[in-house]
């Protein structure tokens, strides 16, 4: 079998070598002119497939007469420029039948995708900008400029050149390659690991769009799936020995639900915590900074809490210790306090100050919530009885806000500050409850009042009736 394959390759190469032997353009340019194109071309994938100079440049390859071979009448176009380059490539690369003749399964829609992409204008890029010319290699050929280990440098040729990029998008950063080199992906690719993500793995190859374009593979709500293509593939990630359930967990998290289900683009995707070009897991000490980009108040409060210093000394991952990482759920009051579901008791034991603080904070929140619910029920009852309690209802609007503030102040672990924050909530609820109860009392007062007045009026009516009868009898 092995012998047969070798024989086939030899015959194949020989056939095409012979066919190129009949190519007037190649022979003349190689022997008489000795230009760089003919020097490079034998290594080109197209040369091996028998694509002649005339197939791209036009002209008559069978004629030895230069005037005839390179005449316009024979279709000679010279060195194609701009869109003409793309036209030349498309002669084959847009035609599935032609491509099949060459035994290729390359997608014939590449150009359509490319044309719609951010690079799709010939003054920005054409096929040869990335794939080269006369020396085009297969993508999986390590000598190809678009081979994973080379691709990053290829893209950075333009994207790291601030002066060049200014012409097209002055606002676009040009430090992607520098950042990439600091990422896990970048460090590994520099060591020759072709499995890690390069530019085209995230941005795609031909259909690249700006990150804020919903068609982009790195658009906020699409990005988690883009990352998950590798990071959720257990087989692919086996060698790296890291979990592959991040996407699954993220999708169930409060952030994932906001972004993927509600379409809230302000919710964080993978890159908001890990970085994009410089993607790396945040270090223990930087977690609160990363979370603090959005949760600024919580981060500030945490930074002045006694936890901050202790966590740093003991290398405890700040926010993550209570909230988790990828599967961050909506925090509940149960996370606070001393119950079995509380995160406080992971570290604090009975008799400790922290244990007592957690207990008191939880008790105070629970009490406010309970009294709020009771006040609501009282107002509902008053309203059901037809009493106007709209002012009290309006007053109550501040309570949820105070609860949010109190739940935030928890991060200081400072009981005095917490009490100061939650106290106005109690005052409001006291006022509202009193207003509701007063309204219910007023309701009963009205009924009693009506009863009394009806009684008095009825007595008067009866008295009047007898008086009338008495007067009429006299007459």
């Amino acid at each position: 079998m092995k012998k047969f394959v070798i024989l086939a390759i030899v015959l194949f190469t020989l056939t095409f070598a012979l066919s190129q032997g009949k190519d007037g353009c190649y022979n003349c340019h190689k022997d008489a002119v000795g230009d760089k194109a003919t020097e490079l071309y034998p290594k080109d994938v197209h040369f091996k497939l028998g694509v002649s100079c005339a197939d791209c440049h036009g002209g008559d390859k069978t004629s030895d007469d230069m005037e005839v071979a390179m005449s316009k009448g024979k279709g000679f176009i010279g060195i194609p420029k701009g869109d003409k380059i793309i036209d030349v490539c498309l002669k084959c690369h847009s035609n599935e039948m032609v491509m099949k003749k060459f035994g290729s399964n390359i997608d014939v829609n590449q150009f359509k995708l490319f044309k719609a992409s951010v690079h799709g204008k010939s003054e920005i890029a054409t096929c040869v900008t990335c794939h080269g010319v006369h020396n085009i290699k297969k993508v999986n050929d390590p000598t190809s400029p678009v081979y994973p280990t080379s691709e990053v440098r290829l893209c950075s040729k333009c994207h790291s050149d601030a002066n060049y990029m200014k012409k097209f998008n002055p606002a676009l950063p040009t430090d992607q390659f520098e950042k990439y080199k600091t990422s896990v992906h970048g460090q590994r690719i520099l060591k020759g690991d072709t499995k890690v993500a390069t530019c085209s793995d995230c941005h795609s190859a031909h259909d690249i769009f700006p990150a804020n374009d919903p068609r982009s593979t790195v658009f906020a709500s699409t990005l988690p799936k883009t990352c998950a293509r590798c990071h959720s593939d257990a087989n692919y990630m086996r060698d790296y020995k890291i979990p592959t359930d991040q996407y699954e967990k993220y999708a169930q998290s409060v952030h994932g639900k906001a972004l993927l289900e509600k379409g809230d683009l302000s919710a964080p995707a993978c890159n908001d915590c890990h970085g994009n070009h410089g993607a790396i897991p945040p270090g223990v000490k930087s977690i609160s900074h990363v979370c603090g980009i959005c949760h600024a108040l919580n981060a500030e409060m945490f930074s002045r809490s006694p936890h901050a210093e202790v966590f740093e000394k003991r290398n405890i991952p700040q926010c993550e210790v209570c909230h988790g990482n990828h599967l961050i759920e909506r925090p509940t009051d149960e996370m606070l306090g001393i119950s079995t579901k509380s995160t406080c008791i992971k570290c604090h034991r009975e008799g400790e100050k922290g244990f007592e603080v957690a207990k008191q904070m939880r008790d105070m929140i629970d009490t406010l919530v309970m009294r709020t619910n009771r006040a609501k029920a009282i107002l509902d009852e008053a309203e059901f009885k037809g009493m106007d309690v709209s002012d009290a209802r309006y007053d109550m609007n501040d309570v949820p806000q105070i609860l949010i503030k109190a739940r935030t102040v928890i991060h200081t672990a400072n009981l005095d500050e917490f009490k100061e924050t939650i106290a106005p909530g109690y005052e409001i609820i006291d006022r509202v409850t009193k207003a509701g109860l007063d309204a219910i009392d007023e309701y009963y007062f009205r009924r009693w009042g009506l009863g009394m007045s009806t009684l008095i009026i009825t007595i008067l009516v009866i008295a009047l009736y007898f008086k009338i009868k008495q007067i009429e009898r006299k007459k």
Binding site: D391, R447, S453, L460, V461, L464, I468, E472, K475
Partner: protein, 360 residues
């Protein structure tokens, strides 16, 4: 009466001849027959009007007219002012009961032919009082500046715009602009608390004066009865005490209605909000509203709405002038046609009102 009381009385009598007034009152009588019950409805209407005046003045202490204050001040009255809820509810309920009492009073006078000579002007002033009561109702309805009142006023005033030539200008005058706005509210308020009470009081005074001068109407059948068979009761104190008894009962009904069915305030008017479904005028306008709704767009080359308005105006004038064209009753004959017309009007109003509630 004590010596001091007598001195006091004599002091007044010397100056104002009140003895002769008391003499007149003590001889005033009320005819007593099987239809005498209808005599009470004039008194009931008067009692409810007095309640309207008293509660209206009390509401004025806190009500502040304006797009930004009308609704808020009424809300303040019903939620913060001591007994404000009661006063506002009684004012609203009493207004409706008053219009009902006035209608009953009018139809009873009509069917007992009490309008006939020499009481033509009592009838005319009474009819004018009904029209002004309805205007009171229409103008007062807008004053809380709630959603329902806003759209009902919008729909109600739009009818004026259907009058040819002057309609558009008239509508602008009534609304104080192209649309129902704070300007409409201000002029409805002025109408409700200043203009109408002034005119109403003068006409009411005339109406009561005519009744005092002429006494209560006797049934037409009595003209054939010998005087000894005609029964009377003294106005004072017998009839007045009966009146008082009924007023007390009505006061109690008002209190029950105000406590058990407090008049709702609803949502504040929002001119930019779409009109809520099923907007209807108050019940006493419903028969006219329903008629206009059922009329085709064009009747004899006239706009349907204007045609309806024309018919109601002509019918109203004819109704007001009934003592002048009902010559048959005047001459002592039975005029069945009057009864049939009255019955038709009553049945028509009832049917249209019911239809107004039943149809969408």
């Amino acid at each position: 009466m004590g010596v001091l009381g007598e001195k006091f009385f004599n002091w007044f009598d010397e100056r104002y001849k009140i003895r002769s007034f008391i003499e007149f009152m003590s001889h005033k009588t009320v005819p007593w027959h099987r239809h005498s019950i209808w005599y009470y409805f004039g008194g009931v209407s008067l009692f409810l009007f007095i309640i309207q005046v008293v509660t209206g003045i009390l509401l004025l202490l806190y009500y502040r007219v304006g797009e930004d204050s009308s609704y808020e001040s009424v809300q303040f009255i019903v939620s913060k002012v001591k007994f404000g809820w009661l006063i506002r509810s009684i004012h609203s309920w009493s207004a409706n009961l008053m219009i009902l009492a006035v209608f009953i009073h009018m139809f009873s006078v009509y069917f007992t032919k009490a309008y006939r000579k020499p009481r033509e002007l009592t009838w005319v002033t009474g009819f004018l009082l009904l029209i002004f009561s309805l205007t009171f109702g229409f103008s007062g309805y807008l004053l809380p500046w709630n959603e329902l009142a806003f759209f009902a006023t919008k729909v109600g005033t739009e009818i004026i715009g259907s009058i040819p030539v002057i309609g558009k200008e008239l509508l602008r005058i009534v609304r104080g602009g192209e649309d129902v706005t704070g300007a409409t509210l201000a002029r409805f308020f002025g109408l409700h608390v200043a203009i109408l009470p002034g005119i109403f009081t003068v006409i009411l005074f005339l109406h009561l004066l005519f009744i005092q001068i002429q006494g209560m109407s006797e049934p037409p059948e009595w003209e054939k009865l010998p005087p000894e068979k005609r029964k009377y009761i003294p106005f004072f104190p017998n009839f007045l005490l009966r009146d008082l008894l009924l007023w007390l009962i009505i006061l109690n009904i008002l209190a029950i209605l105000a406590v058990f069915f407090p008049w709702e305030l609803g949502k504040k008017a929002d001119p930019f909000a779409p009109a809520p479904a099923g907007i209807k005028p108050e019940w006493y306008f419903l028969f006219m509203y329903q008629t206009l709704k059922l009329l085709p767009a064009k009747v004899l080359f006239i706009e349907g709405e204007f045609f309806g308005l024309l018919i109601f105006t002509v019918a109203g004038i004819l109704w007001m002038l009934v003592p002048f064209w009902d010559v048959k009753t005047d001459k002592g004959y039975r005029n069945r046609l009057i009864n049939y017309i009255g019955l038709f009007v009553l049945i028509y109003m009832l049917t249209m009102t019911i239809l107004g509630y039943v149809l969408d």
